[in-house]
Symmetry: D2
Subunit: 336 residues, 4 copies
Amino acid sequence: MIIVLKQNANKQKVEDLIGGLRERGLSINYSEGSHTTIIGLVGDTSRVDPEDLEALEIVEKVRRVSEPYKLANRKFHTDDTVVRVGNASFGGENFGVVAGPCSVESEEQVVEAARRVKAAGASFLRGGAFKPRTSPYAFRGLKAEGIELLLIAKKETGLPIVSELTSLDNLDLFADVDVIQVGARNMQNFDMLTELGHCDKPILLKRGLSSTLEELLMSAEYIMSGGNQNVILCERGIRTFETATRNTLDISAVPLLKQLTHLPVIVDPSHATGIASLVEPLSKTAVVAGADGLIIEVHPTPQKALCDGAQSLTPDQFDKVMEQVKVLCKLEGKRL
Amino acid sequence: MIIVLKQNANKQKVEDLIGGLRERGLSINYSEGSHTTIIGLVGDTSRVDPEDLEALEIVEKVRRVSEPYKLANRKFHTDDTVVRVGNASFGGENFGVVAGPCSVESEEQVVEAARRVKAAGASFLRGGAFKPRTSPYAFRGLKAEGIELLLIAKKETGLPIVSELTSLDNLDLFADVDVIQVGARNMQNFDMLTELGHCDKPILLKRGLSSTLEELLMSAEYIMSGGNQNVILCERGIRTFETATRNTLDISAVPLLKQLTHLPVIVDPSHATGIASLVEPLSKTAVVAGADGLIIEVHPTPQKALCDGAQSLTPDQFDKVMEQVKVLCKLEGKRL
Amino acid sequence: MIIVLKQNANKQKVEDLIGGLRERGLSINYSEGSHTTIIGLVGDTSRVDPEDLEALEIVEKVRRVSEPYKLANRKFHTDDTVVRVGNASFGGENFGVVAGPCSVESEEQVVEAARRVKAAGASFLRGGAFKPRTSPYAFRGLKAEGIELLLIAKKETGLPIVSELTSLDNLDLFADVDVIQVGARNMQNFDMLTELGHCDKPILLKRGLSSTLEELLMSAEYIMSGGNQNVILCERGIRTFETATRNTLDISAVPLLKQLTHLPVIVDPSHATGIASLVEPLSKTAVVAGADGLIIEVHPTPQKALCDGAQSLTPDQFDKVMEQVKVLCKLEGKRL
Amino acid sequence: MIIVLKQNANKQKVEDLIGGLRERGLSINYSEGSHTTIIGLVGDTSRVDPEDLEALEIVEKVRRVSEPYKLANRKFHTDDTVVRVGNASFGGENFGVVAGPCSVESEEQVVEAARRVKAAGASFLRGGAFKPRTSPYAFRGLKAEGIELLLIAKKETGLPIVSELTSLDNLDLFADVDVIQVGARNMQNFDMLTELGHCDKPILLKRGLSSTLEELLMSAEYIMSGGNQNVILCERGIRTFETATRNTLDISAVPLLKQLTHLPVIVDPSHATGIASLVEPLSKTAVVAGADGLIIEVHPTPQKALCDGAQSLTPDQFDKVMEQVKVLCKLEGKRL
């Protein structure tokens, strides 16, 4: 961490600051120039809050030079983390595909979707029982009944299930859900992250619409610091000025995250743009960018979907995507 | 709402669509051109989900032309809503100032802050008991004890209090809190909004870091559709490419929101940039832009603040801000 | 185009507006609702400026429903445009790779770069003679001498050359340059676009840092409306809130542009992030997303580069990228 | 400047780097930690390009700690620069108002606009003769004739004139124009900036749509390093995700720029949002934020404007804005 001092900073206060930092076990490097004086801190700065330092009247600004996350950092854990659920896994050589409808609507719908995505090669069934919706007048999911229908589909097909938790109040209902999804809007719901750090289920953590990669990794750190190391990161598009797509898929996030962290990284090409015809090309980009999996919306009859129909694939379209994904996974040495 | 059809859309399917929309009580206008055919919907389209329509294979795109919010819409409620708490109010001719520390740290700190901000003319005390923090290793607030300390300060000074709720699990602790703040990260925590719609306290709803004004108004609509009409909107900076400030204060949001909605609108100049020296000029811009209030961080000793010290004012600095705010309020015909 | 009228709009003025629009050859559809009245315009609206209409006191807002570009629009030109230069081409089944140093620095450097990129399979040599630099104190290119050195490298290797024009004043110097590049900062330099519309060379048009896809296509339209149909579009990263990479590669732009336009689309993975280690994975994403080519910075000794060294590959690294690109091109049915 | 070294960086290469930096007259501070080693550079680093350093294989990243601009920096020039044109000035205690039509359309229009804005208290007439337009099919200005009409209006009213230069080819036509405007799209047209550095006219430099404040100041530095110190900076809105306004006015830029630089800073409330009804409140925010002036679009008959009518004020509306601006200027101690 680097502290840039104000010009004409009071000498005594500078000495006090340096003394205080040394007491916290940090080594100090002091460089005085004609216009700029900087203090370099070397050591474990993860518990030093840059904002505390910036509040000091002698400080002009503070810059971090090392990452504020430890448990999620590849520097301290070089091997890939593999998250396993039954026979399916994400990470290392394992590529996992999660597919299914945005919302669970009926037993028929979700079982049909499960059968078709399993046949196409998906390893997980997704389905929303609790749906975050921008409008209070929109369909918000079947809730407890939705979870039950997912479990029926799991029983019928053997596919482990992934579903989104929108409130800790419903956590009990997720006892038989295999992977708990934290949606983009809850990526910084720190109470939720803390609680999920104490549970023993894998967490699929989606990047917030305007969250930096560092913030995403800090949210993973929340879960991991509670004891749960099974975190799967998901890039699902960020909010930019471009309006031609609902969000902008930040594909560079995939190889960059793979450098920064040992956790598995997957891509959601459905929410990334909101346009069904882009799911196939974007799924392919995810594989060659080094992703460890995909999460894709598939609906037996998208035009009847109660939410996000525009971005859902039909089972036939999903078959076609999976054919391409399989070819590329083989090329990349990934096991689907 | 406007539906743009794909070229060569199947005629029977177009007729089916039009029939279905008519059944929902909408009047239809059909315009066929050589390259583009559009269907105009007139009537109450607030329950028509554009995404459902965009999923249809005959539809190219859908554009809303009227606002999807009703209860918050000034078109249907032309008079300003005034939110009152004891003698203090926001809205109409009333300008409310909320001030106090980012985090409640001790009785001495919060009572001292309360005395000073009251003396300067603030009408509410703010203080965080539950603090959302990006890092799991940072101070996250005194929690229940923090609320108790705020209530002591309220007793000492008579100032009503505003504090942030980060989880519904803590709602019981807020029984004597006067105004519940929903933070930027929870603006789309729909379970929380729904629950707060059933409570009888005013809600201070902060705009999310990457939320549009329409999304902010839809979140207000969530609370209002539950029965609670006492919503105060707060512009607190949005996330952009600019890194010189922590966020970018969207000052245009103030006069624009005042046109779109009857709800009071306040500004948070402290979080908007994270830079204490900008709080004074930005507070002044809020008043002349037509805001109904301010929420400002004030700490007796900002350099000792456990969070966000860099953006907190000293009580002396706050006195100076309030002098300016008073002059401008008078000019604008606002009662402070 | 859709015109939304203000509530209580003066009837006579509405009739005048409708009359005026009919005179411009547009057919009109008028839908009056209780709260919203809309006018739908069908016909060629490319010369109707929405801002002119929005200035009318009876108009609330105006929404385009059809694209404002015609010549670049795939709807009116379904076949892929193929841009050919000697034996190399972009578009259709042809995949073109442009490679070389950010700046031309010496004959030795550029000839060495040219030999190596040709051997690896590149079809064009790139090199900057005129360099846009943020700082007035930075190296701005060898200018006329740089062009001469590129022509020497062309003679030595037979590779056609691509170089950036930063001012029309230098256009004469580009007489033997094969493809003229318009940089991101000049994407809306309309005087330059107009002039290049009258020349007979292919134009490589880079997307501006904060330009929408529609704006990119409108800039292509500028060139095409002057008579020059040989425009190659280039996605090179947009500016967002994310600071981990210099820009954010908008990979969805590739398949979306291929739907919207018949022009070839290429990707610049070097500028997209500014990080050399991401060039390989991003080049691969470009191929599978359907791009028609790549433009990559390669420097014999990146650590000695006078600009943008951080994002340049060594020739050995480029060899490795090209091996991967070739495999994926074959899979995609593209001829490299 | 801070250089963060890679873990396990080759010792000899690190020593070579340090030697090279010392030769450039910089003092070096070297801090080795268990996971991070940093080199602090103190001295004049304005000619050290961070990207050159980041290209070295031993370097992980580079962070600037001092501003890369010198001539525009308030640290080296504490007094406000005042830009004077005849009796009108920007900067220090002087507040300048530039007003007039977006485009010059006719003698009658521009003379009428000039008379009215002068009567209301404007000190400069603005008018576009060369108009950058997104569409090649839109009106692009009267060009040379437009400049002539502006000069007629100047003769009639005595108001000095401000007009936008879109290409250096037209510079001769600007001989009698008092202030040359560099538009947002040309803020990084470095050839133009360099040339204008050699001229003796004040330059009104508009911030680019996605330019940081540092980039704006570097563009001012370009002009100043050529010898022309008369630069006026203009905040005119930046591009963000918000679509309710055309751009987002970054009002914090005003007080922050006033801290960072001695140059005058003005605000364009018309282009900032594209909505006429927001010009009055935003003009007021500019004054209280500490701006040195305003540039406002005024058209005798906005509904007949050939461009940007939606954001133009009528002369009567402008009168009302100026009344408010005068009151606030008096309060702020500014001379209008």
